[in-house]
Each structure stands twice: as C-alpha cells, then as structure tokens.
C-alpha cells in the first residue's frame, strides 16, 4: 500500500472505497496502530511516525468494542483523561459535561451491556471530548446503527465539530453519511489514493472512475 495525502486542519473528510482497499490501514497508520514500512506521518507539522499511539494528538472511535464491558459509562469516559482512572475534581466536572453534551445524563453508572448501540457510540464520543485531541478518526462508527440513530449521531458529530474544530477522518461505506457530514472525500482503491475532492462533486458523478464503480447504481441516484 502507498498513501500520499495531505488534509487541511479542521476539515471533515470521508474515506470511501471497497472493503480491503486500505481504508482501515490508512486510519491505523494515522493512529499509530500500524507502522509504515517507509515514509513519514506529520500531524500539525509534527513528525509522529515514531510516536506510540497514546502520544499522538489523535482519538479514534471503532465500529464496536469501544467500551470496556466491566466498567461503568463514567469510568469508560474517565479513561480518556487518566489511563489509571485517577481523576481530579476538574476531571469529574469535565466528564459530567461531556456526558451531558452527548445526551447521556442519568446513565453514568450503567454498564455497557445495559445501553443501546447508539448510546455506546455516544459514550465513545464523550471520551473523545474529554481527551480533547485535535484529530478524530472514525472507523465506520455508525455502521451497526439504524437510520434514525445514525441521523442523530451525524447531527451530534456536526455540533461537536462546530464547537471543537477537530480534523475528522471517517471511513464509511454509506454515501448518505458522507453527504450529510463531510466536506471533502478521499477515495481509496487497491491500497492507493484514487482521488481527493469535494464530497458533493464526487457524489454527483464527478469522482474518479473507481468511485463510480464502487457506488454502482445506488450512489448516482443520490
């Protein structure tokens, strides 16, 4: 795989492409879960290629398994502040604020299995808020949610982006999610960047050929 890519700060970017094309690898490289064989990764001008994941200015939300099943909502969010759960008064205030922001008031003491799929992803977002890192990576975060929940989450993402101005990269298979949330689109195909441009342009049929093939008939109707 070979990625050559530059993203503006505070942009919201959709990463689209067929399964196995390298979307997740791209995100894992930015997060630091995988190391490049060659080349460099810069975030905000700083070379992070050799930094451990925890030291990078990055948060990530996965499709599932974002929460520790044996910890309460509050503790799961608190881990974003202290990986050993040593929380100060200030930390607790911030956690409460993040939970309020993500609509989880009253569910602080619940365990993940007592939450709906949408609520679990909200907890993960609340943790992103208390971590307060400038880059947010989303790996198909809403893929297992129904349409209504999905719309609610996308609205929440929009608000969070407006308030915090993070740079967001979201891997997704759904052109509607991309259209609702993102400004820019990256198309990944066969381990390479097949194109980068405006989301609305790409979705109205002006994207690279690989993208049209990937969307098939479904995308063009949008």
């Amino acid at each position: 795989m070979l990625f050559d890519l530059q993203i503006e700060s505070s942009d919201i970017v959709a990463v689209m492409g067929p399964s196995g094309s390298g979307k997740s690898t791209l995100l894992n490289l930015v997060a630091g879960f995988e190391r490049p064989d060659a080349g460099r990764i810069l975030i905000g001008g700083q070379d992070v290629t050799d930094l451990a994941p925890a030291r990078r200015p990055v948060s990530m939300v996965f499709q599932e398994n974002n929460l520790f099943a044996h910890l309460t909502v509050e503790q799961n969010v608190g881990l974003g502040r202290s990986p050993r759960l040593r929380l100060s008064e200030q930390d607790r205030t911030d956690i409460a604020a993040a939970l309020e922001r993500t609509g989880l008031v009253g569910k602080e003491r619940r365990l993940p299995h007592a939450l709906s799929g949408g609520e679990r992803q909200r907890v993960a977002l609340a943790r992103v808020l208390v971590r307060d890192r400038p880059v947010l990576l989303l790996d198909e975060p809403f893929a297992s949610l129904g349409p209504a929940l999905r719309d609610g989450m996308l609205d929440l993402m929009k608000e969070l982006h407006r308030d915090h101005a993070m740079t967001i990269l979201m891997a997704t298979h759904d052109p509607r999610d991309a259209a609702r949330l993102t400004e820019t689109m990256i198309v990944v195909d066969g381990g390479r960047i097949a194109g980068i441009g405006s989301t609305s342009d790409f979705l109205s049929g002006n994207g690279p050929e690989a993208f049209d093939l990937y969307l098939g008939a479904q995308g063009r109707k949008e």
Binding site: N28, A31, G32, F33, E34, A52, P53, A54, R55, R56, V58, S59, M60, F62, E64, N65, N66, F68, A69, H70, L71, L79, G80, P83, R84, L85, R131
Partner: protein, 538 residues
C-alpha cells in the same frame, strides 16, 4: 417409515453404547456394594484416622498443586499475550502442549532424572545445601510433577482467553496510554478473572485424581492419596473393606468437585486449542519486555527440563539391549494390542453416542430434551466422576469371586481405557458429525439413503478426519496409562507402563529411563498424528 427406521438404527446404537458404559460403571459399584453388605462392619471400621489423613492429604496436595500451577500461569499467559510475535513463540506453545500427551509415568521419571537423589541437579543441590541432596520424594516431588503437567495447560487455557479480547480493546489501551499495570487492571484481569474458576477447577480435579504421579513420587503413608491407598489396599494388604471405604470417599469427593465446577461453569475436559494470534497493537516498555522475557524463559526451562532429562537419561541406558529383551518385546506387543483395541472400542462407542444424540435431537424437533437424549449428551462424562481406578477396584473385588482376577486383565484394561478417553473423543467427533448431519439430513431423506449405505457414503467421509484424531488420541491415552493395569497387571500380562513401574521399584533405573524414552516417543508420535489429522479436516 424410512424416516423412522433411519433414526431407529442410530438411536439403538446409542442405547447400546450407553448400556455398555452403564454396565462397566454399574458392575464396579455392584462389586463394591456386594462386598460392603457382606462385611459392613469391616467397611465401617475402615473409616478411621488413616482414611481421614489420606483424604486430607489428597485435597491438600491438589490445592497446593493448583495454586502453584495457576498463579504462575497467569503471568506466563500474560507475558505471551503481550508479545504476539517473537522468535520461538509458536515453538514454546507447542512445547507447552507436550505434557498433555506425555504419560504420567514418563513425566515422573523425567522429574526424578532431574531433581532425584541421583538426578542431574543432585550435585548442584548438594553443593548448595552443603549436605547430600536427598532427592525429591513425597509432597515436593508430587508438587513439582503436578506443576510440570498443569502450569503449561493452565497457561495455554488462560492465553486462549486473553487472545479472545477484541483487537480494538488493545488498540484503545494503546491510544489511551495505559501502561502495563493499567492495561492489566482494565483489559487483562477481567478476562482472566472470568476464566480462572474453570481453569483452576480443572487443574484441581486433575490433581485430586492423579494416581501415577503420587504412586511413583509419593513416599510412604505420609504422602498417599485416596487412589493410591485404594491400590495399596487391594494389591498389597488385600483389604477389600478398606478399599470400599476409600472408594466411597473418593467418589463422594470427586462428585463434590465436579458439582462445584459445574456451578463455576468450568469445562471438565479442558480444550487446549489456541486461536491464531491476531495482529495486535501492543507497545510494552523496555522494563516490561525484560520482565516478560524472564518469566517466559523460566517457565520454558521448568517445562523443558524434565523432558530433556528423560531424553538424556534414556539415551544413556542400553537401548539396544533393552530393545531385544523378551520382557520388553512382550510388553510392547501387549501395549499395542491393548491400546489399539481400546481406541477402536472407544471410537465405536463415541460415534454411536454422537449419532444417537443427533438423531434424537432431530426427531424431537423443537420439543424439550428427554432424559435419554440428555444421557447421550453427558453419559460419556460419567467417567470423570468415577475415575478408572475406582472402576478397576470395583471389578477387582467382584471378579475375585469368579476365579483368577488377573486373567481378566486384558478385558478390564481395554474397556476401562476406552471409556476413559470418551469425554475427549466425543468432543472431537460431535461438531464434525453434527455439522455434516445438518447439511445432509434432508438430502438423505429425499434420496432414500439410509442404514449402512448412509454410513458408508455420507457419514464416514465427513467423520474420517476427526475419527483419525480421536483414535490416535485415545490410543496414546491408553498406551501411557498406568491405572487399571496397576491393579490387574501380573507377570503374565504386562504393558509398557507396568514394566516401567516394575523396573523402577526394583531400582533398575537405567532400564526404566530407556523404557520411558521409548514410551514417551510412541505417545508423541500418536499425538502428532492426531494433530495432523485434525488439521487436514479444517
């Protein structure tokens, strides 16, 4: 009509298999009961301080063995989980599977060759203690051998639990900056805590019913367990009343343990298969890397030590003379015939049970499970509550009324060893058979394929691989077993483990070492074949 007859054949086979198991276990209990009612005063009098002491020692050594195996295993499993890729990792995991296949008597000899009075470490220990090293016998010997068997088993089971942690959770811990302690607390410990009762229960059960290790390494009346005491009561003191008291105590104890394990949700057969190591994002610091390396190397040395000692001591013996000895050749022949017959019988019984269970399941549709189906499901596990020595002891007491007990040796060894392996073989066969049945059942009914034709054309091809695995496994288990043969063996009927035990007790150590090497290799080859056939299926 076709439908019901096609099921009836399989169900009848299962009923027959269950009846055979019930006869074997029931006969043993009948023997005990007849004797107990005949001499109930004697049996009652045998519940004496000696029995209490033996029962207490049985539990005490099992408890110590469990603690000493499982707690280090936590650290070993964790160290292996934290380093999903390093040179030699898969070799270590394979080495950790070897004790499962090694006959207990071979392991006991390996432990003695290393730590015994004349062992390889004796000069070192003597120099350290500034006194002649007495060798490990008694409790210390039992514990070392039990840990040798169970630490690798526990480590593999716990590692399997750790490897089931979703990749994203490891990634998350890396992103959140959890160190070794925090990730132990939040990621590893919750998973380990869930797996521990089962693993500890299994190890405790194995140690509480361990016979060969205690027989060969335990010393005198101070380090005797119930099973060994039963053996001594029958073979040396010929005191059936005492044997009955001991047997009842043992059955009560194991039943209690199994019931407790069932409550804890433990798996009594212990599956040692590991999932392939997934790619995991782990970033241990340098000091943690060093600590993990030390833990893994120590465990490796502890497990590999007795194996190496077995090989070295075996090579030093006069192997070529031993191989030409008449007693050896006779024992080898007997062992091969017994274990092959036992494995064949085990396979037949297991397949019959598996087919009957599936047939009953299909016939009842969605209804509730009947008692008969329940029996085909769990009947094979009966032998776990009633250890082979108990079955052997019951029949020993019963058969002595019918003539020369030792003449029944072949029958007893073959049948008891066959039933002993069933919990494992059923587990190998059932998934393959049920999956094939789910695919082919309707087709067979539609085409009218039934009876023998069905077995030949449909069932056997899908069962061939697992059946090979099960056969090799059952044969290895039977080949290395020193349980029933210890009771029924004589100068006329000797298996390799029995011959080994005799050479050991007459202090012909070099001969014993050579035999151990030979027996160990034989079992390893069978286990290797079992693994190969198991993989071809996948």
């Amino acid at each position: 009509m076709t439908r019901s007859t096609s099921f009836n054949g399989r169900i009848a086979a299962g009923a027959f298999a269950l009846a055979a198991i019930a006869f074997l276990v029931g006969g043993a209990f009948a023997g005990l009961l007849v004797e107990a009612t005949g001499d109930w005063r004697g049996a009652l009098a045998a519940f004496d301080p000696y029995l209490v002491r033996v029962a207490r020692f049985t539990l005490w050594q099992a408890l110590l063995s469990t603690v000493l195996s499982v707690i280090p295993a936590i650290f070993v499993a964790r160290a292996l989980a934290r380093h999903p890729r390093f040179f030699g990792r898969s070799f270590i995991l394979q080495l950790f599977a070897v004790p499962l296949a090694l006959p207990a008597i071979v392991a006991a000899l390996g432990v003695l060759a290393l730590y015994g009075r004349a062992g390889y470490f004796a000069p070192v220990f003597s120099a350290l203690a500034q006194d002649r090293w007495p060798g490990i016998y008694g409790l210390s010997g039992i514990l070392v051998a039990h840990v040798f068997f169970n630490l690798p088993l526990a480590a593999r089971l716990l590692l399997a639990a750790l490897e089931n942690i979703p990749t994203n959770q490891w990634r998350l811990s890396a992103q959140l900056g959890m160190g070794a302690r925090a990730s132990f607390r939040f990621i590893e410990w919750p998973v380990l805590r869930a797996a521990l009762p089962g693993v500890a229960g299994l190890v405790f059960m194995l140690c509480a019913t361990s016979f060969t290790i205690v027989l060969t390494l335990g010393g005198g009346p101070r380090a005797t367990t119930l099973e060994v005491a039963i053996y001594q009561a029958l073979r040396f003191d010929f005191d059936p009343a005492r044997a009955i008291a001991l047997t009842l105590t043992q059955v009560a104890l194991t039943a209690l343990i199994v019931a407790a394990m069932g409550r804890l949700g433990a798996s009594v057969t212990g599956d040692a298969s590991l999932p392939a190591s997934p790619r995991r994002a782990l970033f241990p610091g340098n000091s943690e890397k060093l600590a993990n390396a030390a833990i893994i190397l120590t465990a490796l040395a502890f497990v590999a030590g007795p194996m190496l000692a077995t090989v070295l001591a075996g090579l030093q013996s006069e192997l070529s003379r031993l191989a030409q000895e008449a007693a050896f050749l006779a024992a080898l022949r007997t062992s091969l015939i017994f274990s092959a017959s036992s494995a064949a019988l085990c396979l037949l019984l297991s397949i019959a049970l598996v087919m009957a269970r599936r047939a009953l399941e299909i016939r009842r549709g969605g209804g509730s499970i009947g008692p008969f189906e329940q029996m085909t499901d769990t009947g094979a596990m009966l032998v776990l509550i009633v250890p082979p020595i108990i079955i052997g002891a019951g029949w020993f007491i019963l058969l002595r009324h019918l003539g020369d007990v030792f003449a029944f040796a072949p029958m007893m060894v073959i049948t008891v060893n066959a039933v002993m392996a069933m919990p494992f073989t059923v587990r190998v066969l059932r998934p393959a058979h049920d999956a094939a049945s789910a695919r082919h059942e309707k087709l067979c009914l539609a085409l009218g394929i039934g009876g023998w034709n069905r077995v030949r054309l449909v069932d056997w091809p899908s069962l061939r691989g697992p059946a090979g695995t099960a056969f090799a496994f059952a044969m290895a288990l039977s080949l290395g077993d020193l349980g029933v043969i210890a009771l029924f063996g004589s100068d006329q009927v000797q298996t390799l483990p029995y011959l080994l035990l005799q050479r050991m007790s007459s202090y012909r150590t070099a001969d014993a070492a050579g035999l151990a090497l030979f027996l160990g290799l034989l079992c390893m080859v069978l286990m290797f074949l079992a693994g190969r056939w198991g993989k071809e299926r996948a």
